[in-house]
């Protein structure tokens, strides 16, 4: 009975590798990092920085080699900003975290993995490069979109990701809110009305920034994409400069993606020196050039002046000046039952002033 023999072989070969492979997979992967001439660190970052850090990592490797004679390998992990922060909290061994917004590094600090005063460790609130929120429109700007109020004109379709799941979308939401506040002399009711109108023009909320870009660029859906400036520049350069145009609104938000050393991890792995230098070197003129070439606004004024043509002047407000920091912004706008949830309340129901969802 050859069939029986075949089946038996199938089953026995099934059991053998089981134990071996499970053991192998669980093998001690905790790499003793700083041994002799080589060191490895892990940079846990958010989605749009892939190209930036790919370029920066090799720059830094040369710098570290020249400085210490040691070969450094930087491993990269990218994903949604909050998802990445959660992974670090749950045990992903990140030596440095370079995320999309301060709230996510605060969460890492709140879990006891890094100093709560992380923002004071490096210049500019530990923000080596900045960005802002701009509009990406179809080539020739056929719908004549020039500023925030144009977005809520009848017939305009706006693409933006879900602020609940995307850091970039939260910056976009706050940029819209801040602009509406400015136009209405700080009247938050008017700002809320504008935001409600704005999201009524959004047909789909992609979970992440790059998903939204794909919807707009690949699917050809929507008239305008609210995007990180670096994403808008990258998308136009990568996917066809003749197909899209960038519109700079009158005001926008200064998006500050911060960086931090994860103290608990670097102390255990003995990588503090290289991790700190990795972040400090981000502020050097060479690294700032890399940032600018990857469409991030440099904080170094000399490099910024050099790339002024790429980054038009926008009147930028900050999260601290308008929203009193990320914690307040998160609680008011994005937390469960916050204003973003409320603008999606059923039309018939009266808008509850307090936390939605607790009503019967």
């Amino acid at each position: 009975m050859r069939v029986a023999r075949f089946t038996r072989t199938l089953l026995t070969t099934a059991i053998l590798p089981l134990g071996a492979a499970l053991l192998g997979a669980c093998a001690k992967t905790g790499t003793p990092s700083a041994t002799g001439g080589a060191v490895e660190i892990l940079n846990v970052s958010y989605d749009p920085t892939r190209e930036l850090y790919e370029a920066y990592d090799s720059l830094f490797a040369g710098h570290w080699k020249a400085k210490t004679g040691q070969t450094v390998t930087v491993h990269q992990s990218h994903g949604g900003s909050s998802k990445q922060a959660r992974a670090v909290i749950d045990g992903l061994e990140a030596d440095v975290a370079t995320l999309g917004l301060a709230y996510d590094i605060d969460a890492i600090a709140a879990a006891g993995l890094t100093d709560t005063a992380w923002a004071t460790k490096f210049p500019n609130h530990s923000t080596p490069y900045t960005s802002t929120i701009v509009f990406l429109v179809r080539a020739g700007n056929p719908k004549g979109i020039h500023d925030w109020p144009d977005l809520v004109r009848p017939g305009i379709t706006v693409i933006t990701p879900n602020p609940k799941t995307s850091g970039g979308a939260r910056w976009a939401y706050l940029a819209a809110w801040g602009n509406a506040l400015g136009r209405n002399r700080g009247d938050s009711a008017a700002a809320r009305a504008f935001i409600t109108q704005l999201y009524a023009h959004v047909p789909t909320l992609d979970p992440g920034a790059r998903g939204a870009t794909t919807t707009f660029v690949e699917r050809g859906i929507g008239d305008v994409l609210l995007a990180w400036e670096n994403e808008a520049l990258l998308a136009t350069h990568k996917l066809g400069p003749d197909k899209f145009a960038i519109v700079i609104p009158s005001t926008s938000i200064r998006a500050e993606p911060p960086v931090a050393v994860v103290d608990r991890i670097v102390d255990r792995r003995g990588t503090r020196a290289v991790a700190e230098e990795y972040l400090r070197y981000l502020y050097s003129p060479e690294a700032q050039e890399v940032a600018a070439r990857n469409y991030y606004r440099p904080t170094d004024s000399a490099v910024a002046a050099q790339y002024a043509a790429q980054f038009p002047h926008v009147a930028l407000f900050t999260i601290d000046s308008v929203f009193h920091g990320w914690h307040a912004a998160q609680t008011t706008h994005f937390a469960d039952g916050g204003i973003f949830d409320q603008i999606y309340q059923p039309k018939a129901a009266p808008q509850p002033a307090v936390v939605a969802g607790t009503s019967p």
Binding site: A21, L22, C26
Partner: protein
């Protein structure tokens, strides 16, 4: 297998044609078109670009990890699936329906949760996680966690395919073998398994396909470290997010190819069995 001759129960030609055309049409729209999108997208920039995408070192790393995951998760499934199908098909006992339902449960669990459970179990904030991590045993954000999540997701496949086949076969064959003096193992190897071979292979094929293609659960426990903890589906997501659409779809065709390979193995075994039977 099937003999070509006219039977009273053969459908009239018209019915055959209509039903076949209907099946092909529905299939084309529902499954064929999306798959065509994948293949067309993969070849959008020519064969050379396609080959470059699938031989990229990071793609190869991801392929290796995926094969490792399949090599562990599928055998685990075979062992438990065969055991479960035997117990559930050949015997009746209180709680049988509940047990079947428990086996089905991983299908119903959202992939996000399938990954999250292992983070909650072995992660940095769990009961045993910190101890494990302090001693250098990495489970989540390492291949072990990816394997665990994959076993969880694919757990029902083999059992679910085998169960109806063993049920339909009943117990008479086995009882006859036992009466004739065969031992339990002999009966199982010589009588039960050969008859259920098709179902077993179908289950293995499905489990393999799913183990290789699982995205959601694996994404939660992977940590997404390039070249280390990225499986093929995660690598596809990365390429897609780098606006390398054709590269992403090129790598996706690798998974399609993997599914076709398992299928070819099934055919080969079927042919083999048919020759043996003849």
């Amino acid at each position: 297998m099937s003999r070509r001759r006219v039977r009273p129960t053969d459908d009239p030609a018209v019915v055959r044609w209509v039903l076949t055309a209907l099946a092909l049409g529905v299939f084309g729209v529902l499954v064929g078109l999306p798959v065509a999108v994948v293949v067309a997208g993969a070849l959008r920039h020519g064969v050379e670009a396609y080959l470059r995408a699938i031989t990229d070192p990071l793609t190869v790393d991801a392929l290796q990890l995926t094969l490792l995951v399949v090599a562990v998760a599928v055998p685990v499934n075979i062992v438990f699936g065969v055991a479960a199908a035997w117990a559930l098909a050949k015997f009746d006992f209180p709680g049988r329906a509940a047990l079947i339902t428990l086996i089905d449960l991983p299908f119903a669990v959202s992939p996000v949760i399938s990954g999250l459970v292992f983070v909650l179990l072995f992660g940095g904030r769990s009961l045993i996680g910190p101890w494990l991590i302090a001693h250098g045993w990495h489970i989540v954000f390492a291949p072990a966690g990816i394997i665990l999540a994959t076993v969880f997701v694919t757990f029902p496949f083999v059992a679910r395919e085998l169960l109806p086949a063993l049920e339909a076969a009943g117990r008479t064959n086995e009882e006859a073998a036992l009466v004739c003096g065969a031992t339990g193992w002999q009966t199982f190897w010589r009588v039960t398994l050969p008859n259920a071979r098709g179902a077993l292979l179908a289950g293995v094929a499905l489990a393999t396909a799913r183990a290789a293609g699982e995205f959601g659960a694996v994404s939660v426990v992977s940590g997404h470290i390039r070249g280390r903890t990225n499986t093929l589906p995660l690598h596809i997501e990365i390429l897609y997010n780098e606006y390398d659409f054709s590269g992403a779809l090129a790598v996706a065709t690798l998974l399609v190819a993997l599914a076709l390979v398992t299928l070819a193995i099934r055919w080969a075994v079927d042919a083999h069995a048919a020759r043996d039977a003849a």
